[in-house]
């Protein structure tokens, strides 16, 4: 069971970057008329951020990291480990971690790790970096988490196009003697691998002449094998089945209860799902900040983006107990329970096309 805690580390900073380009869902042809009925209430996304072709997840994350390092007074050479979480890397290979290392000017002795994780990715990345830093006695580590999932969407798929959005983030972990333990609880169910998936373009189904062929799956849903597909009912069922017990188990192991966290920062999936989770756990809305309405579902970046946008002022000030919970492609899920104090939170950055790599 991946239920564990790591002592002697603190989250000392977090920063996020979003593409400057905003797309309003009410301007989408796909949601016009009867087809859009119930969308606002069920999904709860009005505006999304879409990266132009010159901006990749690496660009968004590197910009966030630069801002965070300079605001924190940490030199690039001090970073001993870098974990990069994305499902939209610049290239099939090499991974984004070495690209980011080079652009940030990190030492060539840096431990570099790439993780392919979706909406649970922030928690997985945090757990991996914390475990790594603790085991290897690394004093400063950087977690870069971001995606440009809009690149994978069919413009004719109503089940994905109005939902996904782009963002990147950087989080700094530092060794701190006596810091309260960070607690993690991670899980997965590979039986749900096809619930959220891009079928073609990997080794199982290499990119070929048929990969771009659009196929009508149902009304308003046409996509090709290279596009992201998502089965909403399954996502809902898996999330309701696994996320609540995962959080309760984590809190119990940390000798806390549902009322202990000052804030719950959930992956921003859709309004109905997030409301159901809050209700099941009995968490008041004001303890669960949201960014869904204005920023959509930015995959692995929703948690750091929400931390940055909604809790930056709180985290900078004094001690807060945070429960972070991510769930999605895999199917995988994870939660983290940590105490944050004096976290450096530079303002969220906006990036336009001129700033890509």
């Amino acid at each position: 069971m991946a239920l564990f805690s790591v002592a002697g580390l603190r989250m000392s900073g977090v920063c996020a970057t979003v593409p400057a380009q905003q797309v309003r869902n009410d301007e989408l042809e796909l949601l016009r008329g009867a087809a859009g009925k119930g969308f606002d209430r069920a999904v709860g996304i009005q505006t999304r951020r879409v990266a132009c072709p010159t901006i990749c997840a690496s660009d968004l994350c590197v910009a966030a990291a630069r801002s965070l390092l300079s605001s924190s007074g940490v030199a690039a050479g001090e970073i001993g480990a870098l974990v990069f979480v994305t499902q939209t890397p610049d290239y099939p290979l090499p991974g984004n971690s070495t690209l980011a290392q080079h652009r940030l000017g990190l030492a060539d002795s840096t431990f570099l790790l790439d993780l392919s994780q979706g909406c649970a990715g922030y928690v997985y990345g945090l757990a991996a970096l914390a475990g790594l830093m603790s085991a290897a006695r690394i004093a400063k580590g950087l977690l870069l988490v971001g995606d440009t999932l809009t690149r994978l969407l069919s413009t004719r798929d109503r089940s994905t196009l109005p939902i996904f959005s782009d963002a990147g983030s950087a989080t700094l972990l530092e060794a701190a003697a006596g810091a309260p333990a960070m607690h993690f609880n991670l899980g997965g169910e590979g039986r749900g691998a096809d619930i959220i998936r891009v079928r073609a373009g990997g080794a199982r189904e290499p990119f070929g002449p048929d990969s771009l062929e659009l196929c009508d799956e149902e009304p308003h849903v046409a996509r090709a094998p290279v596009h992201l597909s998502m089965r909403g009912l399954d996502v809902l069922h898996y999330s309701l089945k696994y996320v609540e017990p995962n959080i309760r188990e984590l809190l119990a192991s940390a000798e806390a209860d549902v009322d202990t966290p000052d804030y719950y920062v959930f992956h921003q999936a859709n309004r109905l799902l997030n409301e159901s989770l809050l209700k099941r756990l009995g968490i008041p809305q004001q303890k669960a900040p949201e960014t869904l309405l204005d920023y959509g579902n930015t995959s692995c970046a929703t948690i750091p983006l929400t931390l940055s946008l909604r809790l930056g002022h709180v985290l900078a000030r004094g001690a807060s107990r945070l429960l972070l919970s991510g769930f999605g492609a895999g199917f995988s899920w994870g939660s983290a329970f940590l105490t944050c104090d004096a976290v450096v939170c530079p303002p969220v950055l906006e990036m336009d096309g001129a700033h890509g790599a």
Binding site: K37, G38, A42, G232, H237, L272, S276, K279
Partner: protein
């Protein structure tokens, strides 16, 4: 929740109120809900969430897709409450 606390009429009314663009009284046990004019995968999500909220039962996609009429859906929910 007790099995006896759920009757089919109450169930149908609760589905109806979840689908807020359906005229009250329009649906009955024989309604093939997928044939409703405004039915999309989004309505499926809305109904499944309303069942979860009202009856504490989270239906799997498979269970939901097996149901053709509201009576089928009601029977599935009842089965889950009973198990």
């Amino acid at each position: 929740m007790e099995k006896s606390a759920v009757d089919v009429q109450t169930f149908i009314r609760s589905v109806e109120s979840a689908l807020d663009d359906v005229t009250p009284g329009l649906l009955d046990a024989t309604t093939r809900f997928r044939d409703l004019e405004a039915w999309t995968s989004l309505q499926a999500l809305i109904v499944v969430v309303s069942i979860e909220r009202d009856y504490g039962v989270s239906l799997s996609a498979e269970e939901f897709e097996r149901a053709e009429t509201l009576q089928d859906l009601y029977d599935t929910v009842l089965e889950r409450i009973g198990s």
